[in-house]
Amino acid sequence: MILRLALGSLMARALTVGMTMLAIALSVALFLGVEKVRTGAKASFADTISGTDLIVGARSGSVQLLLYSVFRIGNATNNLTWESYLDLAARPEVEWIVPISLGDSHRQFRVMGTTGAFFDRYKYRSGRSLALAEGEVMDDLFDAIIGADVAAALNYEVGDPIVVAHGLASFIEHDDQLFRVSGILEKTGTPVDRTVIVSLQAIEAIHVDWRSGAQVPGQSTPADALRQMELEPQAVTAALIGVKSRLQIFGLQRAINDYPSEPLLAILPGVALQELWQIVGIAETALIAVSGMVVITALMGMMATIFSSLNERRREMAILRAMGARPRVILGLLVLEAALMAAIGAVVGLGLFYAGLVVAQPLVDAAFGLWLPIEQPSMQELWVVLAVVAAGAIVSLLPAFRAYRMSLADGMMVRN
């Protein structure tokens, strides 16, 4: 009966209670949304590369190497010589190795030179392989495979020509050697979607007539001649390595970091990601703190609503006291009402969060390449709901205690 009375009391003040619950719902939805984006971004970053044991590049910072080699963010300060690459490839611990050559671009997208092994070895989202949505893998020297976002943004289809620009954000183009889209990859939610992939030899081919960052005037080797040439790269930007046994990872990493011929750096992708999280940790914490404060503000609003309703509810409390309710029953009733408000608000907030997710998921994916999965509420989300209910009950203790004291003082004799 007490629960029914509490619900009835809330329904009797539907407008103010409704607005209070809406404020709680919106704050909970915001909190869960921020948390979803945060964990989604983390998961998306972590899902970008899997199955690669080590990433090797010229010696710089581990986060920097991870960012430019996997996420196409920033640039390499130096390259890894082809001799070193071959030397590493020949090591007994190495099961497979895939070179990556970055540095050129097509419109706003990076061009990456690699080998066919990239399509076999690159894994994302817990072991998924790349797959072609249409077309086929590179067959000709000037074939290019483009990511799903490249195709969508530039409206490219299989067979369309591509001109690669020298460097990044450059107006100098390798327009004498046209590439052709041979295949379009399925969407992966990784930076591969925003990459134009060509063969390592093709990267060499378009630079045959170039010296010191500029094309030799009047020199342009015909495409067919290039196709006949033995094109061997002098250097690559980085290499992805898989080892035969996971026990060998640290040994190989140490050996690469102590490589005598040139300064190299080998990183474990997961460890470098952790370092990255530590760097962005402060911003992350600030974001959670702000959304947490919004929830607290909504709960404080609820407390103010309860406080302001106390005077008009003195008669109601006097009736309950006259019926034998102890002051602590009055206290309990107000806390129960607050907990109900917070619970309904939090559950509605959870609903709003999912509704928002359904709407925002494709938009966020398209705009930021961030995939926010719609899943059953996680334990963490349920804990948030529970915590909001508990916090609602706790903040209501202040007005409830005031009601307790009022009901002690008033007894049954309020006349209003």
Partner: protein, 233 residues
């Protein structure tokens, strides 16, 4: 003073409010016999509300004793006093008696919620509430109605049903007819007397309207049983 055994007896009771201009009430002796119908008459400020609070145990006397059904209320802890009140007293206020958002049934059964012995006396609460409503002249479908939707007269009858259910030994009515017109007043009192008699309860009604006197077994003036004093604020 009634002739039978006392259901209520106040002896040498003294109480002084703090922070209310130090209003003080002294009741040397006052008792009500079982099944008696007593009208307590007094003007505003005569201490009626303080006396009712003492009888109901929401305040305890600084001196003297308040015996209800043979139990000294002041000797009980605060929690036990609340339960004792729920078990032994049915209360009807002047107005605003009901929780307006709750149904009539919930309002009536609320008086059993904190009184397990009284609840045990009612084998079928819903049917009993229904019968009381019918006996008090309320429409058949009243039980499910929201209390706030009833007329003032109907609300007073529901309050009477709530006070009567479980047959508490003492019914206290604090000016229950003051918000009613003359015709409704008479009907309400007739019904209240009849149902109080049926329940075997004692009735103490507080009022400032002396015209009600002929309908009671005994009429007591506040001025005759109590002394009040008010210190300068």
């Amino acid at each position: 003073m009634g002739s039978g055994p006392s259901i209520l007896a106040l002896k040498g009771v003294s109480y002084r409010w703090s922070g209310r201009g130090s209003f003080a009430l002294d009741v040397p002796a006052f008792s009500i016999a079982t099944s008696e119908r007593v009208l307590l008459l007094g003007e505003s400020g005569s201490g009626k509300s303080t006396l009712l609070s003492l009888i109901c145990g929401t305040i305890t006397p600084h001196a003297g004793s308040v015996l209800l059904s043979g139990t000294d209320i002041a000797s009980l802890s605060a929690g036990k006093r609340d339960r004792f009140r729920a078990e032994h007293i049915g209360l009807i206020f002047q107005q605003f008696n009901l929780l307006p958002y709750a149904t009539v049934l919930d309002n009536i059964l609320l008086s059993l919620r904190f009184a397990p012995q009284r609840r045990a006396r009612v084998a079928h609460p819903q049917q009993t509430a229904q019968k009381l409503c019918m006996d008090l002249g309320l429409p058949k479908d009243t039980l499910t109605a929201q209390a706030g939707t009833l007329s003032v007269g109907q609300q007073q009858r529901v309050a009477a049903a709530r006070a009567l259910i479980g047959a508490p030994p003492l019914i206290i009515a604090d000016e229950p007819t003051s918000a009613l017109d003359a015709a409704t007043q008479a009907t309400f009192l007739d019904l209240l007397f009849e149902q109080t008699r049926n329940a075997g309860s004692t009735l103490l009604m507080v009022s400032h309207d002396a015209r009600l006197a002929p309908q009671f077994d005994r009429v007591v003036q506040m001025a005759d049983i109590a002394r009040t004093a008010q210190a300068a604020a």
